[in-house]
């Protein structure tokens, strides 16, 4: 089946070509620099992941699962794990019509060597989160590494997934495609941590399909990526589901961080909350494209979008585009966006108590970030994020 999907994607990519700035999703982010990366064909079998993996970790090396980590994986008996090629039902692989318009999505799909399907058995609740470690081991420069994985949660599952990237070697272009299927009465906590100092580029397409009474938490922190563009699309297909998205991006130099979020309220009585904060220094840029579509009949929808950008330099740029598209008449939807520098009155207040100017600035930057971090669902990720934040802030002014 994989060959069939890839054939379609190859032809879609040829039709679409590399995205230009004329496209809404790419208006403020150039794809030019991504063209030079060529598909990875290296053999990953000899690369050991022992140093990274414990029994809760699933390691992917250059987009392919490490059998070494899979054998050790504590939850493997509670799951059905298949190659995507083994799936009989093609619809399991389908994603959104919007991703179908994305050239890079098809480029990624058409160049994966394999992909995995993970299905959690009904009723499974894991106390310890699953750690997904994407190890990018690049011996050659200018490699594009694509991956595609599908996660299916069945009735009663309560699953936490923490996704982290480890880049070894030279900079590259990591193209990550994920689909999450959440059946009735499931909880999915998906945390994404990007802390990369190897000048890599990340482009992610994450699609979430939610049925009835699902609770989905997406937490993400980006730090140090040269180029990080993440598409998140969520379909709330049945009533009673709730989505919370908390994203914190920290950027300096000429880094570019970009979040494209689309939440489709297709059913009644669903809640969605988007909180995206960017802190930018130097010439860094960020984009927030957030959209909520409330379908006709999706009454009692409760939705809120908030994007706040803190500019620490006059040369940093934030593009913010919160959008609402509402076709139902009994809904509560709100959105807001603010962009600005540190508040001078607050700095004066802190300094008037004897706190040094740099410390006052740091306190305020940290406070701005912590309002997002305190919403992170996983304690370990929250603590790790706070540590990363401290390191970033200390390197910022001192």
């Amino acid at each position: 089946m994989l060959k069939k999907i890839q054939k379609h994607s190859r032809s879609r990519f040829e039709e679409l070509g590399y995205p230009s700035k004329k496209l809404e999703n790419w208006k403020f982010s150039s794809s030019k620099h991504l063209k030079k990366y060529s598909s990875n064909n290296s053999n990953n079998k000899d690369i050991s992941v022992e140093q990274y993996s414990d029994e809760y970790t699933l390691c992917f090396i250059n987009g392919e699962i490490s059998l070494e980590s899979l054998n050790k994986f504590i939850y493997k008996d509670d799951m059905i794990i298949l190659d995507i090629d083994e799936l009989k039902d093609e619809s399991i692989c389908s994603t959104s019509s919007n991703f179908d318009k994305e050239a890079f999505f098809h480029l990624g799909l058409s160049t994966i060597k394999s992909g995995k399907y993970f299905e959690f058995k009904e009723g499974c609740k894991f106390d310890t989160p699953i750690q997904i470690l994407n190890v990018y081991n690049k011996n050659t420069e200018e490699l594009r590494i694509s991956s595609f994985n599908i996660f299916k949660l069945n009735q009663g599952n309560n699953i936490s997934i923490i996704e982290q990237d480890i880049n070894e070697g030279s900079g590259s272009f990591n193209l990550s495609l994920n689909k999450f299927i959440c059946a009735d009465n499931t909880i999915l906590n998906h945390s994404m941590m990007y802390d990369d100092s190897t000048e890599s580029n990340y482009l992610g397409y994450n699609y979430y399909e939610l049925e009835r009474n699902v609770l989905l938490n997406i937490d993400s922190m980006n730090i140090n990526s040269t180029f990080n563009k993440n598409f998140i699309e969520i379909d709330l297909n049945r009533e009673g589901s709730e989505v919370k998205i908390n994203i914190l991006n920290l950027a300096r130099n000429e880094q570019h961080l970009d979040n494209n979020i689309l939440v489709n309220h297709n059913a009644e009585h669903c809640i969605s909350v988007q909180n995206v904060r960017n802190i930018l220094n130097d010439q860094a840029t960020c984009v927030f494209n957030g959209k909520v579509v409330v379908a006709d009949g999706a009454q009692k929808t409760d939705s809120n979008q908030s994007n706040k950008n803190l500019l620490l330099s006059q040369n940093a740029t934030a593009h913010s585009n919160p959008q609402l598209e509402i076709y139902a008449d009994d809904v509560a939807c709100g959105h807001g966006s603010t962009t600005g520098a540190l508040d001078q009155d607050s700095i004066f207040y802190l300094r008037a108590r004897g706190i040094k100017e740099t410390d006052a600035n740091n306190i305020l930057v940290k406070a701005f970030a912590k309002e997002i971090l305190q919403e992170f669902i996983n304690d370990n990720i929250r603590n790790l994020s706070e540590n990363n934040l401290d390191h970033w802030i200390n390197g910022q002014y001192n």
Binding site: F348, A352, R353, G354, E357, A367
Partner: protein, 246 residues
Amino acid sequence: MITIKNLKASIEDKDILKGINLEIPKGEVHVIMGRNGSGKSTLANVIAGNEKYEVDGGSITMNGNDMTEMSIENRALQGLFLCFQYPVAIPGVSMAYFLRAALNAKNKHDGKEEMDAVEFLTTAKKVLSNLGLDDSFLKRSINDGFSGGEKKKSEILQLLMLNPQLAVLDETDSGLDVDALRTVAKGVNEFKNDNNTVLIITHYQRLLEYIKPDVIHIMIDGKIVKSGDMTLVHEVEKNGYSWLVK
């Protein structure tokens, strides 16, 4: 303690302070009264070093040290404390974190050891109790969601914890009900001793029913036009400020 000589200051090219002369010796409480827009709060801000204001002339000296060009934080570390008229809310920074940061900055400057968490909490809880505030106050973000009274009590809490040499109270009595006013006055009286100094900026005499001043100054159009004792306050209450305008 503090000597201000011919102080001139402006904001966005608008002259506000037009030659202030003021001397407050150690151990005294002075009051500045005046109409809205006379420059009282500007004086408080300029003393504290607010960079929004341009100092166009004159000098501010505290304990013999020229503070006119000193940074905001150095003035505070030298022993100056401004009780803000409108304390800003800073979501995400707890009162405890803020107070400890301020105390430790002061201790470091004074060559003392940093205050540990237990010592800090013991001291803070005692002060909170005197101000009628719950211990949970320390966990709240700075002035975030505080009522008017809580904001002013928060300023007094900081005053008592930091124990400065000079406290400038910028309309600390405004917007307070009688009970809160008493609490604030009690805090100021607790702070006051023979070795420190208080400058109160106010519109009304009601705070002065609780705190006994040594000297009253009347400020009009950026200048101190008259100084005297409490009888001056009663005259202003009775006749307004017009009779003082030349």
